[in-house]
């Protein structure tokens, strides 16, 4: 049977302020439908960060030379979100604000230590990504706020990142995926953040895995320990994509592969 949505009314605000006043007018009854507008659509470096307008379409990340050259983790992610047709319509802000642990951007933004900018009747505020995901499909924004921008800190020298996703087929959610962003000091990991996709009820950082890396001199054993830590600390649900043990082991492998790729990139590789 065709999927016909329930009846609703539709407003097409021409400015952010108009959108905010509509949200207030229909308090609790309104849902933001991204993707039909050209407001808030940009990807550009501004000082110490990359600024992404919340309504930027995913394909714009694929096509952006600054993303491709300087934000490898984000570029990896953009290439594996859903499929090419969906990426022509889907928005970065929508992917994050939905707070779905199966979506790809949450893990990536956690690994980047991104900051989210929101606007509401009381004005603009910023929310650290670590404070943003509060539950399954729940985030730290109030009903009358709109996500306007995502800010990713410009990676320091000797940094690298990677996103590795294991999926049954193009367009499916990940069985598991790992986002890694790290900085090296010689062969020592000076800083590392790791986000995991679809192995927890709320988008999560693998802080145990991070702790296995930071301050350590890189070796196969250290990378394996990080993978095992992530496998232990994630909390996957069994479903048609596999059982818990299987998903934990895939997580171990995804984390290891992302670390290896991130290290190679931090050392100047592609």
């Amino acid at each position: 049977m065709p999927v016909i949505p329930g009846a609703f009314d539709y407003h097409s605000p021409r400015s952010l302020d108009e959108a905010l006043s509509l949200l207030q007018q229909h308090a609790g009854e309104a849902k933001i439908l991204a993707g039909g507008q050209s407001l808030l659509r940009y990807v550009e470096e501004r000082g110490d960060h990359l600024a992404i307008g919340a309504m930027t379409r995913e394909h714009a990340l694929e096509d952006s030379s600054v993303v491709r050259n300087s934000y490898s983790l984000l570029h990896d992610t953009a290439l594996v979100i859903a499929d090419p047709l969906v990426r022509n319509q889907a928005t970065v802000g929508g992917n994050i604000a939905h707070a779905d642990p199966a979506n790809d951007h949450p893990a990536t933004m956690l690994a980047y230590d991104a900051t989210l900018v929101t606007k509401g009747p009381k004005g603009e505020r910023t929310i650290a990504i670590d404070d943003f995901f509060t539950g399954l499909f729940e985030n730290a924004m109030s009903d009358d706020e709109i996500l306007t921008e995502i800010r990713i800190p410009k990676p320091a020298a000797n940094s690298g990142g990677a996103y590795t996703k294991f999926e049954r087929k193009v367009g499916d959610y990940a069985i598991s995926a790992a986002a890694v962003q790290l900085r090296l000091d010689g062969d020592t990991v000076a800083a590392a953040r790791i986000g995991l996709t679809n192995v927890s009820a709320v988008p999560m950082r693998a802080q145990g895995a991070e702790a296995e890396l930071v301050g350590k001199s890189l070796s196969d054993a250290v990378i394996e320990a990080a993978g095992k830590a992530a496998a232990a600390e994630c909390d996957p649900s069994p479903d048609l994509r596999g059982g818990v043990d299987y998903k934990r082991d895939i997580t171990r492998v995804m984390v290891k592969r992302s670390i290896q790729q991130a290290v190679a990139r931090a050392k100047g590789g592609k």
């Binding site: 999927v3 016909i4 993707g35 090419p84 047709l85 969906v86 319509q89």
Partner: protein, 162 residues
């Protein structure tokens, strides 16, 4: 129910209709405009049978509300054979047997049309990635890839390419 007047360009012609907010673009195209070349396969953004170009980009029209297409330029499969002459992609699907049941074909062609604009001389791997949002339940992908390769070569030759 809330009715909204929507004006958009479909295959070069401006159309204005009153639609419910919840009407999907694919239903608008098929039922209000009677352009039934655009198919509905899964209704869940998986299969790509409903692919049309919106402002030049292929999207799944079961994932867009008609009201969101206000002011947009929409192209459907009916626009592809300009003046009744088959487009090189249509010719390629004919020559290379790029279809079995044909259900996915309009979506495949709309996706491939934009893909070849961006990438006129693609590798086989690039073609396969390019059509990865379109499913063929006959699994006739090899022939579809050959059809797109045929079209790429023909378009290059027509453009006086090397």
């Amino acid at each position: 129910m809330s009715e909204h007047e929507v004006t958009l360009t479909v295959n070069g012609e401006s159309v204005t209709r009153s639609v419910e907010a919840r009407m999907l673009l694919v239903h608008f195209i098929r039922e209000d405009l009677s352009l039934t070349g655009t198919h509905i396969g899964c209704d869940t953004t998986s299969c790509g049978a409903c692919t049309v170009l919106v402002n030049g980009k292929p999207v799944k029209s079961c994932t867009v509300f008609a009201v969101q297409a206000e002011g947009a330029e929409v192209e459907t499969i009916e626009s592809v054979a300009a003046g009744g002459v088959l487009h090189p992609l249509q010719e390629g699907f004919w020559e290379k047997h790029g279809l079995q049941c044909g259900y996915c074909t309009p979506g495949m062609i709309m996706t491939a049309k934009e893909f070849l604009v961006r990438n006129p001389n693609p590798t086989e791997d690039e073609i396969r990635r390019g059509i990865s949002g379109n499913l063929c339940r006959c699994t006739g992908y090899n022939k579809i890839v050959e059809a797109i390769q045929y079209a790429a070569e023909k378009l290059q030759a027509d453009a006086g390419g090397e």
